[in-house]
Amino acid sequence: MNFGFNEEQELLRSTARKFFDNECASETVRKLMDGPEGMTPDLWKKIAEQGWTGLIFPDEHGGMGLGFVDLVVLMEEMGRSVVPGPFFSTVLLGGLAIREAGTDAQKKAWLPKISSGDARATLAWMEPSAELGAGGITLQAAAKGAGFTLDGTKLFVHDAHTADVIVVAARTSSGQNPPAGGQNPPAGGQNPEDGVSLFLVPKGTPGLSVTLLPTMDQTRKLCEVGLKDVALGADALMGQAGSGWAPLARVIDRATVALCAEMCGGAQKVLEMTVEYAKIRQAFGRPIGSYQGVKHKAADMLVDVENSKSITYYAAWAMDEGVPEGQLAVSMAKAYVSDAYRRVSGAGIQLHGGIGFTWEHDLHLYFKRAKGSEFTFGDATWHRERVAQLVNL
């Protein structure tokens, strides 16, 4: 057993740390988050030149062919700098969906461009119902000739306004087939996991409309995506009609692990900022860090941060190894880290006093990222229930 990172991974960490310290310091983050794109072409190009946009894609498609344990290192560093922009949506959502569900031709068409930074992608999955399960996917895809017509609205879509291609989850049938593997069909006899299909919808497709939404966390751009009589050819369908849920679920699980890693990195940074401040800020003639009300809170923060890392690393390993308890690992991680990052970033503001409540201080960037991340891919309550199911409570 070795529950640590190897030399290459440590090197990736120090490279990424230096890179984001230089290229994406707080002033840059603030400029980026003010703009609609959340990214500059220059910074995007530099990120791609590091090979990071292709980190998890196979060599044959121009990627580095690395795993989630490697990715976790990079995500932690990105979370540490609250890096804005479409990395997450391009790599972990759109790109990963193409990797998991795309046909050979689709992979060939998109993955090399994503890996090289020449294309951005995203995944339009949730709808205004905000339901996380397969039942939440109601956007209609009607067969028309050899192709399909898509109609409906997607919400909470990351960076759709800058994406060159959107993977859209739609419903091609109401889910009549029983679940695979001989499980009992859910109540009502319907199986919402059946009948979900994934489509590639390129930018500029007639009938596709994208509206950028104001978000609390300005470093994370979310969109409403409207599809009105969007006509797609048969080649837009990813894999088999009706069986898109399984790859989609794999994508969401993996993206969740990556998000947890990003959250770990953010939490670690908040802890560091707070400890540094507590050493220098004086009150009543002493550094505030010498008061137990402050010190004990900092100790609690450390425990939250370290535990978050442990369960996230484990989940990443579980993804790479494809172990049977993979889903359980993901849900344990997301449940734990969602609560932990919220607590840690809140405590960070608290221990800074008034200065922590200013726009000028960076703490709110983390606090807002924590809140947004909490409700991305299911909050702690949702994942605890999934844990309960997976361990047969």
């Binding site: 057993m1 100790a299 690393y313």
Partner: protein, 398 residues
């Protein structure tokens, strides 16, 4: 990152597994199922036999050197062993203070003679050990201790009192911290002695705990003679030696407590499945499901944070003050678990042993009460937070 076992480790795991399958006392696993996690006085004899059995099978002191009665294996085997113990819900180790603390400290600081004399008998449970640190006026502030040891000829004479000394009434030996230089700065005048509890002048008075059991004691020393050869780690060096013990204690906690927490959680889940709430098993109640799932997550998180610490150990790094975080987490988790067990029982949680209505014969009431000590024994939670704040995070002292 790799959680896979090597072929050797796999065969070790299988060896442990099949031994446990053959040798685990049946009636015990029924008792463990309901979450009792600490050796109770009424089962001391049974536990002594059990530990001896594990020793004879070669499973005690896995990481200790062969020369001193161990098996010379790595922490990896220790972890595999502990995991199998948890899966099998095996009884706890009685001589845990010896194996978790005294032994490793003697192996770290002892003379060759001491290392050959003591550790093996700890493993076999021939000699039970207790820890004589706390005093009536020195608990968290351990370095203020007042029990004195004065040199007379080739031995020391000990006078004073210890308190809260767990299983002193069963113990053959004590890890004793005593003041040997009254004039030195308080951390510098302390010496670590290996004290024979059967020496004349040692009086042990059991103290009743809130559980009703006598598990800890007052220990009085009235001119107790200790040979000079029983000093561990050098005169006036007791603070460093004693801290090593505490570090090992928290490390042992990291291994052992994860296992105990897992066993207790399995017991809790089982209780929840048997308990009816609004006419259905409590596990169907959304609120209970949330709490149980969180317990499950926390137990696993604890395991993986422990695994990260073990990875450091396997790379040759010593356990550091991070161990305090493990102790703190376990305490919080275990106390919450026991509270949840009470919550599940509702009004029945009021009934204890002897009542025909008591759930599981009233054992949960015992473990609930016992869990209160977790945040006090082995250094209070407040002290652990100070250690993390000051030694891990580098915050200034108060």
């Amino acid at each position: 990152m790799d959680f896979a076992l090597t072929p050797e480790q796999t065969s070790f795991r299988d060896e442990v597994r099949s031994w446990l399958a053959k040798n685990l006392p049946k009636d015990w696993s029924d008792r463990m199922r309901v979450g009792s996690d600490v050796p109770r006085p009424e089962v001391y004899d049974f536990l002594r036999t059990w530990q001896r059995k594990m020793y004879d099978a070669g499973f005690m002191g896995l990481t200790w050197p062969k020369d001193y009665g161990g098996r010379g294996l790595t922490f990896m085997e220790e972890m595999i062993f502990q995991e199998q113990i948890a899966l099998a819900k095996a009884p706890p180790v009685l001589n845990i203070l010896a194996i978790g603390m005294a032994g490793p400290t003697i192996i770290a600081y002892g003379t060759e003679e001491q290392k050959r004399r003591y550790p093996a008998k700890m493993l076999s449970c021939e000699e039970i050990w207790c820890q004589g640190y706390s005093e009536p006026n020195s608990g968290s502030d351990l370095a203020s201790l007042q029990t004195r040891a004065e040199k007379v000829g080739d031995h020391y004479v000990v006078n004073g009192q210890k308190v809260w000394t767990s299983i002193a009434h069963q113990a053959d030996w004590m890890m004793l911290l005593a003041r040997t230089d009254g004039k030195a700065e308080k951390h510098k005048g302390i010496t670590y002695f290996l004290l024979d509890m059967h020496s004349p002048g040692v009086t042990v008075k059991p103290l009743k705990q809130i559980t009703g059991d006598d598990e800890f004691n007052e220990v009085y020393f009235d001119n107790v003679k200790v040979p000079e050869a029983n000093i561990l780690g050098g005169l006036n060096n007791g603070w460093a030696v004693g801290m090593t013990t505490l570090m090992y204690e928290r490390l042992a906690l990291g291994f052992g407590l994860q296992v105990r927490l897992r066993i207790a959680l399995d017991g809790l889940v089982d209780l929840a499945k048997r308990t009816k709430k609004n006419g259905a098993p409590a596990t169907q109640d959304p609120n209970v499901r949330q709490k149980l799932a969180q317990m499950w997550i926390d137990t696993e998180v604890f395991k993986y944070t422990g695994a990260r610490a073990v990875t450091k150990l396997l790379k040759g790094e010593l356990p550091g003050p991070e161990a305090s975080a493990g102790k703190m987490m376990w305490v919080e988790g275990h106390q919450r678990l026991q509270e949840l067990a009470m919550e599940l029982q509702g009004p029945y949680s009021q009934l204890g042993r002897g009542s025909r209505w008591a759930v599981d014969g009233g054992v949960w009431q015992y473990s609930y009460l016992r869990s209160r000590a977790n945040s006090i024994e082995g250094g209070t939670t407040e002290i652990q937070k100070n250690i993390i704040g000051e030694r891990v995070l580098g915050l200034p002292k108060g």
